[in-house]
């Protein structure tokens, strides 16, 4: 059985179910227990589980990551919450020097069942420090799993898998997706596997690999082009590290065209990783060079017109597909874009 809930409610459900299932699970981070409860994603958890298992912390990100590590090796299953990925940078010493290498350096004697939740944002003037994604930076570290769910079902299933996983897992949530509804199974044992991509929409003409919010933009582009008879396959990697690329290779062998739309800068990023692996495995099947789309190579500006130019969108994806397949320009005059942004009025 499943029903429609939002991405935000999917987070709450995942946390509640895992906290009910295992009393070693606890949630902590800056302001998680305040009246806003991390954009509402922690609603009711303090009331149900108490301050021992759901608590706000001092503004000490670095130490709090290390505290999660220590608690995890001692058998607890901490969920460390960061309301912006930009704040997660303060934990990089613990993350890169300790958390991700502790199992390896202990020769398998220690395990680190630590879940890290962080939120990426955009829009309404978030500016240079509330707008980054940085998933490539984290995915670069062996020993860490990195996932960016783009649907309510994946949010729930991947977060639950992360909490049950015996390794550190970073879940990067998208603020704009919080209000998006989706069909989510009710089964408390519903899980989605970490490390496996999902085919969001089947097609035969071109493969678009979208990350996080870019899945939404890619689907929008695919819907518009479908009216012209162009069949776009949209794949969401869901987890970017470690990742089983089989589904991606199979798709490109079928379509012969690959576009990677990343929600990040291109330079040394996940899009480059996908492109490198695809050319290695699908060289003979590729009918065109791999196209990459991502953030402008600039910090994120605050003012709206420049910010719109900073982020990639469905129009850019449509243009890239037109160019790849030698299509004429699509008439976009009647199309509505950025529909979800209209739900986000700020300020934070």
């Amino acid at each position: 059985m499943s029903r429609i809930i939002t991405y935000r409610e999917a987070i709450t459900e995942a946390l509640r179910e895992e906290m009910e299932r295992d009393e070693r699970v606890f949630v902590y981070g800056l302001d998680v227990a305040d009246f806003k409860r991390t954009f509402g994603s922690g609603k009711g958890l303090l009331e149900q589980f108490g301050a021992k298992r759901y608590f706000s912390t001092p503004l000490s990100e670095d130490a709090l990551m290390g505290i999660g590590l220590g608690a995890a090796v001692m058998g607890l299953r901490p969920v460390n919450v960061h309301i912006r990925v930009d704040f997660l940078l303060l934990t990089l010493n613990q993350l890169a020097n300790m958390v991700t290498s502790m199992r390896y350096t202990s020769a398998g004697k220690l395990k680190v069942p630590l879940t890290i939740r962080t939120v990426i944002g955009r829009g309404w003037g978030q500016g240079m420090q509330h707008s980054k994604t940085l998933h490539a930076l984290f995915a670069h570290l062996p020993g860490l799993k990195v996932a960016l769910p783009s649907t309510a079902a994946d949010m729930k299933g991947l977060l639950k898998s992360a909490i049950r996983d015996d390794n550190p897992v970073l879940i990067i949530e998208q603020r704009w997706l919080y209000d998006t509804p989706g069909e989510v199974p009710e089964d408390p044992n519903y899980l989605e596997p970490l490390g496996v991509p999902r085919c969001i929409r089947e097609g035969t003409d071109v493969t678009v690999i979208g990350v996080s919010w870019m899945v939404i933009e890619a689907v929008k582009a695919a819907e518009i082009l479908a009216r012209r008879g162009v069949r776009v396959e949209v794949i969401d990697p869901r987890t970017i590290s470690p990742l089983d690329y089989t589904l991606i290779y199979d798709s490109i062998k079928k379509t012969g065209h690959c576009i990677v739309v990343d929600y990040d800068w291109l330079n040394c990023g996940f899009s480059a990783e996908v492109a490198a692996r695809v050319q290695e495995h699908c060289f003979n099947e590729l009918k065109s060079p791999i196209t990459r789309i991502g953030f402008a190579e600039t910090p994120c500006p605050t003012t709206r017109p420049l910010e719109n130019k900073f982020y990639p969108n469905a129009i850019q994806i449509i243009k890239a597909i037109e160019q790849k397949l030698g299509l004429s320009e699509t008439d976009l005059s009647g199309e509505e874009f950025y529909s979800y942004e209209n739900k986000f009025k700020g300020p934070f």
Partner: protein, 318 residues
């Protein structure tokens, strides 16, 4: 009390003798691991660990031979780890700077200053959460108190009333830079006293006093649930990393070394035991340790390196 004094001596002697054994073999260039020797500080590891229960948890730094040896009293896996062998504590993946033995409660050591401090606080949080009654002790140098994470960690531990001992082993040097050149304040203990914890300071080289101070700190922690900060001074006899003295380098004076050496912790304890007529016991123990060390080094030298496939194991728990 004689028995206690002898137990303390045993720990100290094993640490000193093991590190002298490393020094004797290091130039053979088979132990390819940077070693940060603890000689001069043995009384701190011995005294603190004697006061702790065997199932209390320990966290250390890159200078952790002392707490490893005082807790395990073994040297086979220890030397295998230093020689990078498959039979080492961590299959050669850790070496001297990361040596640990979770099965003995020495959970982790680290070569980035201050980084095990929050991990130890997390361990203490877990002990409180699971109501195990176990204490966590974290060892770090005075350099670690320069790091922001030390202050973040002690603040959180005090806020949550965690069962933890912060052991500051102050040798007045962060690598080659003295406290005087680093601190905009006079006494770390005075500052830490402003937190909701119990702070202790001692400049002794008498292991019995370290043991007593730690015992007192543990009793106080158990009665008022406040973390303890223990500040112990010692003198690092050798260079920051490596096997030699470095007085010629000019950043510290040999005169001060001589003052500390005159009250060498091991000699002090040995003299105490002599005066109690334990000469024969000492001699027997020291001989057995020397045999143990010779045998451990011999075994480590002939042990196998890890299988090449070991490179790829234990990145993730399955």
């Amino acid at each position: 009390m004689d028995n206690l004094n002898f137990e303390l001596y045993k720990k100290m002697y094993l640490i000193r003798a093991t590190e002298e054994k490393i020094r004797a073999h290091y130039e053979e260039d088979e132990m390819k691991t940077p070693c940060h020797l603890y000689v001069g500080g043995e009384h701190i590891a011995a005294g603190v660990l004697q006061a702790l229960a065997k199932d209390d948890y320990l966290f250390g730094t890159y200078r952790s031979h002392g707490i490893y040896l005082a807790r395990t009293m073994e040297t086979d896996a220890f030397f295998c780890e230093l020689y990078g062998k498959a039979t080492g504590t961590q299959k050669g993946k850790a070496g001297s700077m990361h040596i640990a033995s979770p099965e003995h409660g020495l959970v982790a050591t680290s070569a980035v200053v201050g980084t095990t401090i929050p991990m130890a606080v997390g361990s203490a949080l877990a002990q409180q959460y699971l109501a195990t009654g176990r204490i966590t002790a974290v060892f770090f140098g005075d350099g670690a108190t320069d790091e922001g994470v030390f202050w973040e960690s002690i603040n959180f531990a005090c806020l949550k009333k965690l069962p933890i001992l912060f052991i500051c082993e102050d040798n007045d040097l962060a690598i080659h830079t003295s406290t005087e050149e680093r601190h905009g304040y006079r006494s770390i203990t005075d500052i830490v006293r402003q937190f909701d914890c119990n702070a202790y300071a001692n400049e002794t080289t008498d292991v019995q006093q370290i043991y007593q101070t730690t015992t007192q700190a543990i009793a106080q922690l158990r009665s008022d649930q406040r973390p303890a900060f223990l500040h112990f001074k010692y003198y690092r006899y050798y260079e920051h990393v490596g096997m030699y003295t470095d007085f010629h380098a000019g950043y510290r004076s040999e005169e001060i070394y001589k003052q500390w050496k005159a009250r060498d912790p091991l000699e002090l304890q040995r003299t105490k035991l002599f005066s109690q007529g334990m000469n024969d016991d000492l001699k027997r123990y020291e001989e057995s340790v020397q045999q143990q060390l010779t045998e451990s080094v011999r075994k480590a030298k002939i042990a196998s390196f890890p299988d090449p496939q070991e490179l790829y194991s234990d990145i993730y728990a399955l």
